[in-house]
């Protein structure tokens, strides 16, 4: 019989993509060994393009050499999904959780991530919905407001979701976002007529939606979360 479900939240602010990736790898390893509870990283990235395991770099529309000029990095990852952009004013959640302990498969997990963003959108009167078959993500009509790309290793998740609060949408013009042509990218700012509170509030709401949808009854915040753990250095 499973005990109470505990989630530890790390509010990390602005984090470089590679550092966040290294942290996730360490946390996945710790979670596999049950050294830590289910953990949720909440953060934003500087302008970064990322590719998934399928390495669909034909969906990057400018030469890699140009990226520095527009102030962006490019990273190849092991997550699912196509090319995407992360940047300031986009709320990111990276859950490092044990799907096996929760009895969830990949499909159910991703559906709950979609629901997390749909619920957050509804707080601002925005009617979002999950993508149709093969279009995982969250849409407002034909416009994409939230993206998902996940890695599952021995039942432990990493990577996660990216929700557009008010990112610089011009950056998306340099890619075929998520490999889907002819569909726009949008943001909460664009879709709502409600005045938006601070991003910190919105990110807190996103965390609450996640915790509720996944059935966590104890949510604790990690004090002073940092890239470097207490005893180790990132090499």
């Amino acid at each position: 019989m499973r005990g109470p479900l505990k989630l530890e939240v790390w509010k990390m602010g602005f984090v470089n993509y590679l550092e966040a990736l290294k942290l996730q790898e360490k946390l996945v390893s710790d979670r596999k060994l049950c050294r830590i509870p289910d953990t949720l990283l909440s953060l934003q990235h500087p302008p970064t393009y990322t590719l998934g395991k399928r390495r669909t770099d034909h969906n990057l529309l400018i030469p890699e050499s140009e990226l520095k000029n527009i102030g962006a990095e490019l990273h190849y990852t092991q997550r699912g999904g196509d090319i995407t952009f992360h940047g300031p004013h986009q709320a990111i959640l990276y859950p490092i959780i044990s799907l096996r302990e929760m009895g969830l498969g990949a499909r159910n997990y991703v559906e709950k991530l979609e629901s997390t963003m749909i619920e957050l959108s509804s707080l601002y009167g925005v009617k979002a919905c999950a993508g149709k078959k093969c279009e995982t993500g969250v849409w407002v009509g034909e416009r994409k407001i939230g993206a998902i790309g996940v890695r599952i290793s021995s039942g432990i998740t990493s990577h996660g979701l990216a929700f557009n609060i008010d990112p610089e949408l011009e950056y998306f013009k340099h890619i075929v976002p998520c490999g889907i042509t002819d569909k726009e990218v949008t943001s909460l700012r664009r879709e709502t007529s409600t005045a938006l509170p601070s991003e910190e509030v919105i990110q807190e709401q996103l965390i609450s939606c996640f915790a509720r949808l996944f059935g966590y009854n104890t949510v604790v915040q990690k004090e002073n979360p940092s890239i470097l753990s207490d005893h180790e250095e990132i090499a």
Partner: protein, 165 residues
Amino acid sequence: MALTLWASSTANALKISCASKPHLSLAFSFSRCFSTVLDGLKYANSHEWVKHEGSVATIGITDHAQDHLGEVVFVELPEPGGSVSQGKGFGAVESVKATSDINSPISGEVVEVNSKLTEAPGLINKSPYEEGWMIKVKPSSPSELESLMGSKEYTKFCEEEDASH
């Protein structure tokens, strides 16, 4: 449940016993979650199956696994000649924007890889125990098979796992 009852009542009506049909080499048992579990295979708790025939073991993922993954759009497999270790990853599948590592239920040398999966990854969903096989391995420690679950154990395992959700 329904299919097992149908099969046996039909067999009775036709005066056939299942045991007398030797080509019916696969028997089914059902889990409450209605995914198929085959007798005669061994199962890992990470939802891979092994079919040991002579000196070669065929490996794939179960019906329960493919159902929980969703539609598979990409499969990454090792090269023949490589080695696999029990419990360690040997490849990955992508479905619903999630890449899931696939772990090997046994250790050994990869002797064949299902290249059809590159063009038709959906075979894993349509036919997880047959056309969707992933790799064939020469087992290095055949005793590892004894540590795996049989069909009844695996069926119960799936039920328990799904009940915790």
